[in-house]
């Protein structure tokens, strides 16, 4: 198997390393760089626990080859908080009691970040649709959906007079 030299810009910091071309981004983050905040849940892109942002877009890091990530900006859940100060999405998950075992949380938070970047005012149906690739077995999604709504409402820079979150179409 061939090796390749790459540079990953993770949470604002450049990491130059040599990776074997079959290594996934998830493996490199966890095993090579010790960034264990991103979780392995299935290895086949079905559960979303390994979701990170690449250039602001959510990807399953278990399906992404690290060698193809040369020069890319990557954000993990640890990149959202600053010395334990939670960002608005993390805070919304805390406030809405949307975290139980916590294993899906890093992926859920990153998927929310990518959703809100594209759609700052999602309806409940849009939130549920966006989270379809992220499995949670603890919450029944009820409080996670509420947390995403709250994160949308508390997004920094959001105009004071925001429309209330649109309700799902029944």
């Amino acid at each position: 198997m061939k090796d390749r030299n790459i540079t990953l810009h993770i949470n604002g910091e450049a990491h130059s390393l040599t990776v074997t071309v079959n290594r996934t981004l998830l493996d490199v983050l966890r095993d090579e760089l010790g960034m264990t905040e991103t979780k392995y849940g299935c290895g086949t892109g079905e559960c979303g626990a390994c979701t990170v942002l690449v250039e602001g877009k959510a990807v399953n890091s278990c399906l992404t080859l690290a060698a193809t990530m040369d020069g890319k900006r990557i954000t993990t859940v640890a990149g959202l908080s600053d010395f334990g100060r939670l960002d608005h999405i993390q805070q919304a998950f805390v406030d809405e009691a949307a975290i139980q075992c916590g294993y899906c949380t890093p992926g859920m938070v990153m998927k929310t970040a990518s959703l809100l970047a594209k759609n700052p005012d999602p309806s409940e149906a849009e939130i549920r649709h966006a989270l379809e690739g992220n499995i949670c077995r603890c919450t029944g999604y009820e409080k996670i959906v509420k947390a995403v709504k709250k994160a949308a409402q508390t997004m920094p820079g959001r105009a004071a007079a925001v429309e209330p979150c649109k309700e799902a179409v029944q």
Partner: protein, 793 residues
């Protein structure tokens, strides 16, 4: 205390910031210097076979490999990965007949995924490459996937200890004629005017906890074995491993890690024996063993599937006269938990309605399916699917309203609960039924949907359930707890029962702070490692708040007693006239008079004799409260679920529109956490009744060990949820609390099945009720209005 400042609030979870930022350390996140990586080589091609030849040599020579170990390199002793054998008395153990039948590495493969040998290497990749070089030849054996097949004459015996492959049946003499209950059931049934009876099938459901099982194990230079594990039962795993490896318990240390979901799958051990056997083979080196999702799927136990037959008789006025039932469950290849679910399925049945005569028989047969063990509900969803559908069939025949019938005939205060002789101390099921019915619009919708036209039909259904708060008196309910007060009047609590993500440690901290009269943030609660924490039976049977909370409360009451006694000396007021709030001790009748708790705790720790006078400065000694607590009861919670469904009679699809879960939980210590348990339970209950089942091919190989092929309810599939917390304080539970961990899953099962019955007039006897089964049912029986069923006409 008449009013609580902290209990009953949504205090933030103690671990939530770590989890939100990714700092929480699960077992797979652990990195230790010099760490090696383990890989268990498993049999994937057969579910039943003998190992004819095993050659480890090529794998051992593979680059990066440190050791390869097979059956002959590890202890020949066998184990039982579950823990029921440690939770009962010796005489009970002998009567139940629990056995140790699991080898670390096997020469008789009994299910797909059985462990053959282990590889220890310098990297996971090296271990995986070496695994491909293991040479193993099998002699295939007949595969038995049902009880009928495995008990047939001439079948290969799974163990000589259990002839006929009958792993368990309710034992004499505790259960005369191998039955729970008894009496003249046939005679009582003859007196019935209406009899409903059917044979059901309940599915093999998987916990699907999000964190795959992972371990680290290490043997230090003193021969002490340390195992990092996410088991729900660290103290029992300590004893199990000590027994398996012939070590005194002080030489086995368990370090509990953050748990990424349990739901029963971590009750006891899974691959701790293999991880520790590897560590013992390479002393001094930590060995990490991680399982892949598809591996986790086949090696960790699932819910017990099987055949469940039931018959219920009623008088014409609705009076139930008898219930007769038999659950024949399909074990996997090993014994673990064979006795548990076979009993409890009947126990929940016995605890529900006032049947004057009831007989339940429960049996477990070995099969070559994957292992079966604990799964949230532990026999209860199986019983709910069967019992609640037959009750509704009876109601339809009688022309009775299913809510009113249940209100009239459910058991309540003073009746025997799931264990005969242990009576219900509290029951607010009527409130659950009334409030749930109002929330879903029961009366109007039952009438409206009883006559419908068109391809899309709607229905509403109800189901009720009883569960438990801890497993007393059948199983040991023991928890030790220590609370120590620091010199600055903050408290540190040591309590070994795991928090699997439910938020139990947060609620326990609320109980502690409330009892002590300290602010929430001035109390710390740690699970502790096995060498530091006292005994605890583990997180099972929805016991953590009811039993553990009572233990924490008692330990804190002891610390509080000592604190007030010392304050009493200082204030010259009897201790019973003092109270504590926000760490200030004050005279109840004269709140302005008091003393800061810190003045007492500091003087106890920093205790000096005045050099001038020789007088001591206060009472010496650090205040500690300790309790070794045994639960006096099991105060069962009750619940009523209401479902509204829409059935597409052309495609067979069932859409759940709304699910109301009304629960009698005694008292919600942390309401948001309680809601979270009930909401999460609904997702798993809907899966049980509508979509989730592990499928096998004829050779016993799993066909759907992935989240794509195994269908769980996703965020878009979930219905509108209404959670109703009925708080009617239990006289025994801490601050009136009963349990909530498992029970939210149970009654959605029956409620959905009954809503389908209401919508299309057909009952389905096999769960999950998939679109294929619905279509088949419609083809065979035809859609009919609920109003056209005999009793309703």
């Amino acid at each position: 205390m008449s009013e609580q400042a902290i209990v009953g609030t949504n205090a933030p979870r103690v671990d939530v910031r770590d989890k939100a930022t990714g700092q929480a350390q699960y077992a797979a996140d652990i990195q230790l210097p010099g760490m090696l990586y383990g890989k268990v080589v498993r049999c994937w091609e057969h579910a039943h076979a003998r190992v004819k030849r095993l050659d480890l040599s090529a794998a051992a020579a593979s680059p990066g490999v440190v050791r390869v170990i097979g059956p002959k390199d590890v202890t020949p002793k066998r184990y039982n990965s579950s823990v029921l054998d440690l939770m009962v008395s010796e005489s009970m153990h002998d009567m139940l007949g629990d056995i140790d039948d699991q080898p670390i590495f096997t020469e008789h493969v009994k299910f797909q995924g059985d462990a053959i040998c282990g590889i220890i290497a310098r990297s996971e990749e090296a271990a995986e490459r070496a695994a491909a070089k293991i040479v193993v030849e099998y002699e295939p054996l007949p595969v038995y996937l049902t009880a009928e097949a495995s008990r047939a004459p001439g079948a290969v015996q799974f163990t000589p200890e259990k002839p006929g492959n009958l792993a368990f049946q309710l034992p004499e003499p505790m259960f005369p004629n191998h039955a729970l209950g008894g009496g003249d059931v046939e005679g009582a049934m003859r007196d019935a005017d209406i009899v409903v009876e059917d044979a059901f099938y309940v599915p093999k459901q998987k916990q699907c906890q999000m964190e795959p099982h992972a371990y680290v194990a290490k043997v230090d230079s003193g021969g002490r074995l340390t195992c990092w594990t996410s088991s729900q039962m660290p103290k029992l795993v300590q004893r199990k491993l000590a027994k398996l490896f012939d070590l005194p318990m002080n030489l086995v240390k368990i370090v509990p890690t953050v748990i990424g979901g349990g739901f029963g799958t971590r009750l006891g051990m899974i691959s701790e024996p293999q991880a520790c056997a590897m560590a013992l083979a390479v002393p001094g080196h930590p060995v990490k063993l991680q399982t892949l999702r598809e591996e986790d799927w086949v090696i960790s136990p699932s819910r017990h599937p099987g055949k469940y037959w039931m018959k219920i008789g009623f008088k014409r006025d609705g009076t139930p006269v008898a219930c007769d039932a038999r659950f024949e469950n399909y074990k996997g290849g090993y014994y673990l938990d064979a006795s548990g679910t076979a009993f409890t399925a009947g126990a929940w049945l016995g605890g529900m309605y006032r049947f004057p005569t009831l007989r339940y028989r429960g049996e477990s047969y070995f099969t070559n399916q994957g292992l079966t063990g604990a799964y949230r509900g532990y026999g209860n969803p199986q019983t709910n699917f069967v019992l609640e559908q037959l009750i509704d069939r009876g109601c339809a025949e009688l022309g009775a309203d299913p809510v009113e019938w249940r209100k009239k005939w459910h058991k309540g205060v003073g009746d025997d609960g799931w264990c005969p002789g242990v009576t219900y101390p509290s029951c607010a099921l009527d409130q659950c039924l009334d409030r749930g019915a109002a929330a879903i619009g029961w009366t109007e919708k039952r009438r409206k949907y009883a006559r419908q036209e068109g391809t899309i039909r709607r229905g509403v259904g109800v189901a009720v359930m009883n569960h438990t708060s801890g497993a007393m008196p059948m199983l040991l309910e023991h928890t030790a707890c220590t609370v120590k007060l620091n010199e600055d009047a903050t408290a540190e609590i040591l309590f070994a029962c795991s928090d699997m993500g439910q938020g139990s440690h947060t609620a326990l901290k609320q109980i502690a702070a409330e009892t002590l009269g300290f602010p929430f943030d001035h109390v710390q609660l740690s699970g502790g490692t096995s060498d530091v924490a006292g005994f605890d039976i583990g997180a099972h049977a929805s016991r953590t708040i009811y039993v553990g909370g009572a233990a924490v409360k008692k330990a804190c009451e002891e610390a509080r007693r000592q604190l007030l006694e010392r304050a009493s000396l200082q204030l010259g007021v009897p201790a019973d006239q003092l109270d504590i709030r926000d760490k200030r001790i004050f005279v109840k009748a004269d709140p302005a008079r008091g003393i800061e708790a810190e003045a007492i705790t500091r003087a106890g720790v920093y205790h000096f004799v005045d050099p001038m006078t020789g007088e001591p400065g206060g009472v010496p000694g650090q205040i500690q409260g300790y309790v070794s607590f045994f639960a006096p009861h099991n105060s069962p919670p009750f619940g009523a679920s209401f479902a509204e469904v829409e059935v597409d009679t052309e495609t067979g699809e069932v859409r759940v529109i709304e699910l109301v879960n009304a629960h009698d939980i005694g008292r919600a210590i942390n309401p948001a956490a309680v809601e979270g348990q009930l909401e999460g339970g609904i997702q798993q209950g809907l899966g049980f009744v509508l979509s989730e089942e592990i499928d096998y091919d004829a050779k016993g190989r799993v066909q759907n060990n992935s989240f794509t092929d195994y269908k769980m309810f996703g965020p878009e599939d979930m219905p509108r949820i209404t959670t109703i917390l009925v708080e009617d304080a239990d006289p025994i539970g801490p601050f009136g609390a009963k349990s909530v961990g498992e029970s939210g899953l149970v009654s959605p099962v029956g409620a959905v099945a009954n809503a389908i019955f209401h919508a299309i007039g057909i009952q389905f006897t096999e769960a999950p009720i998939t679109p294929e089964k619905v279509l088949k049912g419609i083809l065979e029986k035809g859609v009919r209005d609920y109003a056209s069923i005999r009793g309703n006409r």
